[in-house]
């Protein structure tokens, strides 16, 4: 009777250790491969590119199909965005860079209108962000 009970215990230990191994491996994979960053604007479908230089995802001004702008989850205007950007850049002591994330279906003329407005309002370098296609 006593003999019957014993063999089951060590087996359970073995199972948990392999389980932890796999879970740890998955954890490390997601830690390294994924980046944690808030999505700039979930309803903006980014432009897809293959040749543009890769860049770190940073604070971007999302532009929806209808031309309205979204920054840090809130709807904004070009002036309000520039003011926020300049304040942040002065705090960090660096040149402000305007990062736009337009919807891919936004008419190009509207995008250029926004670029002109931001340029005239005193913005420096303006870059357009796009999603890089996976190789």
């Amino acid at each position: 009777m006593l003999r019957m009970e014993r063999p089951s215990k060590p087996r359970q230990m073995e199972n948990t250790i392999t389980l932890i191994n796999i879970v740890f491996l998955m954890l490390i994979f997601f830690l390294i491969a994924g980046t944690i960053a808030p999505t700039a604007a979930p309803e903006v479908e980014a432009i897809k590119t293959s040749e543009a230089e890769e860049a770190q995802q940073e604070k971007m001004l999302g532009i929806r199909v209808d031309g309205t702008m979204i920054y840090e989850g809130r709807e904004t205007t070009a002036e309000a965005y520039l003011a926020a950007l300049n304040a942040e850049a002065t705090d960090a002591g660096e040149e402000p860079v305007i990062r736009l994330l337009p919807d891919r279906a936004l008419p190009a003329t509207e995008l250029l209108d926004i670029v002109s407005t931001l340029h005239e309002a005193g913005g420096g370098k303006i870059v357009v962000f796009s999603e890089r296609a996976q190789p």
Binding site: G34, I47, E53
Partner: protein, 112 residues
């Protein structure tokens, strides 16, 4: 032991749900030049991206033939490209056009 698994599972769930795998790229964009504005320093090629293909100096060119066409213009001494944009174009095509011209080492200015 079980508490360790609990914590690791929680961490795994957190990273699985929060991490994003999309990579971003950036292209510099300059505001469009005004029509009939500054005099050009060197001859510029007029390129107009269409929804499919291009109009290079008024001649229809397919996407595949663009590199070759622009190379012949480059050999003739053209360094700058004037990118014509109209209301039929969307942002996707504009950025595609910008980067495909920049990859060839051309200076691109946008006109409308």
């Amino acid at each position: 032991m079980t508490s360790l698994i609990d914590v690791v599972f929680l961490l795994l769930l957190f990273f699985m749900l929060t991490s994003t795998f999309s990579r971003f790229a950036q292209t510099e964009i300059t505001p469009p030049v005004q029509r009939g504005g500054t005099a050009s320093q060197s001859p510029a090629v007029l390129a107009k991206p269409l929804s499919d293909g291009w109009l290079i100096n008024g001649v229809a060119v397919s996407n595949e033939a663009l590199t070759e066409t622009m190379k012949t213009y480059k050999d003739k001494g053209a360094e700058r490209v004037l990118l014509g944009v109209d209301s039929a174009l969307d942002s996707q095509r504009l950025v595609e056009a910008l980067e495909s011209l920049r990859v060839m080492g051309l200076k691109v200015s946008i006109s409308r």
